[in-house]
Amino acid sequence: MKTVNKSFPSVDGKGIMMGRVAFTDDYALQNSLIVKILRSPHPYAKIKNIDASKALALAGVECVLTHKDFPRIPFTRAGQGYPEPSPHDKFILDEFVRYIGDEVAVVAATSNDICEEALSLIDVEYEVMDPVLNFEEAIDSSHILHPEPEIHEMFPIGFEPLRNIAASYHMHIGDVELSLKESDVVIQQSFYTQAQQHTALEPHTVNAQMDYQDRLVLYSSTQTPFHVRRILSQTLGIPLSKIRVIKPRVGGGFGGKQALHGEMFVSYITYKTKKPSKIVFTRKEVFESSYTRHPMRLDIKLGADKDGTLKAIDCYVLSDTGAYGEHALTVFMVAGSKVLPLYNKVDSVRFHGHVVYTNHTPAGAFRGYGAIQGNYALESAVDMLCRKLHMDPIEFRQKNMMKENETSPIFAIMGEGTEGTAMNMESCKLDYCVKRGKELINWDSIYPHKNVSREKIRSVGMAIAMQGSGIPYIDMGSAIIKLNDDGFYNLLIGATDIGQGSDTILAQIAAEELMTSLDKVIVYSSDTDLTPFDTGAYASSTTFISGNAVLKAAKKMKGLLIEEASKVLKCNVTETDFDGFTFKNTVNDEIINLRDLSNRLTYNEDQKQLVADSSYVGHKSPPPFMAGFIEILIDRETGEIEIENYVSVVDCGTPLNPKLAQGQVEGGIVQGLGMALYENVIISSKGKNITSDFLNYKVPTRMEIKKLVTEFAESYESSGPFGAKSVGEIGIDTPPAALANAIENALGVRMTELPMTPEKIIRALKAKEKRQ
């Protein structure tokens, strides 16, 4: 392999670092109307009246829009396959507001200051209603978030809005109650995971303008340009053919941009006024009014025999989707479907639960997508079980975990709102990952802990994880490759580079198959007018799904080239040899190079444009696997934790660009460590987010991250492009459980709530002392 499995720099890295125009706001026209949103100060209220007359009288105010201006069409902002597994429970603007930060009215004005002044001049009369702020009390509460009759599910997802239930689900294999009864050892524990915020450094940003064909052109910082175009058309009634969505460079997504946030407003304003407009969320708006991760309670029971054979897993999940049910069912499902198959030899499994509405900021997609919550609960519970069994947690995992060529019945049962897809693990090097990670972290010399000083203890902990590679039969990617004179190619892809480097990796795939160098493949992505369809950057799908599409298109292009060359060389296709630059007639050794062939096709003889296209839909979702190991220093008197090292050994098939793959893993690890230890969206008793800036919401800085060791297992997934699986999410899953296990290995206390702050550790220690 010449171009793949090699660490090329990102194709866009240099230009971006040099400050070139690249991101959405850089493309906004200078005369854009500034769009701002008046947001609800109440967690739940009915808008009785809006008087915008004073705001409208202000010079420079273009318009003030309220719920009366928009068609009342229920929809979901979630950018997912259509029809969506999320309920259509949101209106662009509504007469009800359901969380602090929900949209009340929209202002467009000629400057930021005028816009802000206009917002302060809008008089809104609210009828304040009792909110639901405790998700454990949401079901059948007398306060119903969504009584409106128009809202609906697109297909059965267990949607019961009058009970505050956005989605629900139940599955079982075997008889869990019986298996637990028959087990020698049983443990039972509830785990709580918090709301986490993506905090992509680029806030949600959109701008719109009308082009010279009177079409709406949108630049959007989105993970799903094609879903954006469809949803805008469906909700605003603008013909799809009149909308063009361009995704420039995106300053981080992590799931937070897998939805529409400001797109509806700028589109409507520009389409109506014909004037360009833009919205840039403030950091406060990103925190209060975009998305968080779904907070969950996971009740787990495990049963095992004395010899350490895991027999039963029982898991009930209660998930908080906030005010709207975006990604409600699917995130919940992944908490089971991409976690439970890790232990595929059990007699019985049950997974069930509810996703409930509350008057919180809506939860949505976030890297890990339920798997991190499920992993924290299951991998913590496994260590608890091992403690009770007096068994080494690594031995236990080696005995019970998924192995290559095995399967789990869960794959066939649990899909994304529909049935799943059965599959065998044709590539699964989890055993290697565990063995190698154990060496790298120096497990045997530290486990369970070592006393470093009177105050400090060193300990280790670990967890295993799996994710997926796209959603089978739903996620589709496609590619077009065009030959140019001079012998270079354009690669046009719908796939969405949001910083993960997919433009680079997809170009590498094309270059490899076409046996050319990377600089001969000019990649252009994510423009609904110019590139073919792609569902977008989510569900760890791009390398696997879009990559397969690129590979197929490149194969096709190779065929076209050889066909044309054989005509010139006057031989059969089978007699034509091609090395990426030169075609050779193997009978008479006559040659023509690619450059001459393409110039000839462009200008001289038998002129034509060579274009190859292809698309790909997965028939399975081969999971990447990993083992994560943490080494910590913990202060037994203060609970303060220093992260000394995090070892990741990952099976993602062939890493097509090892350094970029490493970047995906390590970025995920650090976000996972953030969730495990520091990050917490704190909501006051009045429903207000009191951590809505970086001074109060703590993401890890470079000072906390001292050492990460990341390695890849030798692995080849035959269904993936050049043996690759996806790697976007897998890194985030293990840190919470690995850290919780390390804390127990150090201090003998089990942390069952995230984040595991030093304060909570001290509280747990004191409670333990009291019990003894």
Binding site: E455, E637, T638, E640, Y678, I682, I690, T691, F694, L695, N696, K698, V699, P700, T701, R702, M703, E704, T757, P758, E759, I762, R763
Partner: protein, 265 residues
């Protein structure tokens, strides 16, 4: 913050008189936290052209002009002569270099922020403040009263000392405000212990200090006794960063460790 007019003062007296005109006029310090304020300011008075920058040594004291940035202090060799460079190691933990390039010592003191990392350190040192009209006053008196009123801080004086000063900022990440600041010193004036980010404004643990200062020898038992006295005399409370009980635990642990460190035991 909304600003009506910006005035580049040409003299301290002009700045002072403008400040007295209305309570809507304000002095511009480093401006690092201006964005956090929603206040409307009529005239924002800039001291940038008044030469209020610089660090020098005068008769065993280090003089720092009020508009000197935290970064200038942190990197000044003169500062190393105070408590073995404790100000450098404290300032080093205040957010990042970029903000320390704008934040000033004057702004850090007169804002009287509870989260200040600098104030508890200055409290355990011998620190005096010089105001344009009010003249010289100890930092402790300034923090405990409102006698200075609407005046302009021009200079901070810190007594040089050779003994080590213990400073611990308990925080979530390196960019966080403190959960608790603990500062312990033993100089020729005896022991001093200050607690900041309680979360209220930093205070000296006077009873505990008095207890230690009347002893002939201080060993493990007395240290433990002093640490538990701190928890009883200082008022801690809860906020989103920590509960009262955890702050008490931290105070006891780190006062103990701090005393041991300054006594090298």
């Amino acid at each position: 913050m909304k600003v009506n007019t910006y005035m580049l003062a040409t003299s301290l007296e002009e700045a002072y008189l403008t400040l007295q005109e209305t309570t809507e006029n304000a002095i511009l310090g480093g401006g690092a936290w201006m964005k956090l304020s929603t206040k409307k300011v009529n005239t924002l008075i800039s001291l940038d052209n008044l030469g209020l920058n610089g660090i020098k040594e005068i008769d065993g004291w280090i003089s720092i002009k009020s508009m000197t940035t935290l970064r200038e202090i942190e990197t000044s060799p003169l500062i190393q002569s105070i408590g073995k460079g404790v100000l450098s190691s404290c300032i080093n933990q205040i957010m990042g270099v970029t903000i320390r390039n704008i934040a000033t010592i004057g702004g850090s003191i007169v804002s009287k922020f509870g989260f200040s990392d600098l104030i508890p350190v200055l409290l355990v040192l011998n620190t005096r403040l010089v105001f344009h009209k009010h003249g010289e006053i100890s930092l402790k008196s300034f923090l405990e009263s409102k006698i200075v009123g609407r005046d302009i801080l021009t200079e901070v004086l810190i007594k040089k000392c050779n003994s080590p000063v213990f400073f611990k900022k308990v925080k979530t990440t390196a960019l966080d405000f403190a959960i608790l600041n603990i500062c312990v010193s033993k100089t020729e004036e005896g022991f001093k212990i200050a607690l900041g980010s309680r979360p209220g404004l930093a205070e000296l643990a006077v009873q505990s200090m008095n207890y230690l200062n009347q002893l002939n020898t201080v060993s493990e038992n007395e240290i433990n006794q002093a640490a538990s006295m701190v928890v009883k005399e200082i008022h801690f409370s809860s906020n989103q960063r920590a509960q009262k009980e955890y702050r008490e635990q931290l105070a006891e642990v780190y006062v103990r460790r701090g005393l041991k460190e300054v006594l090298s035991i």
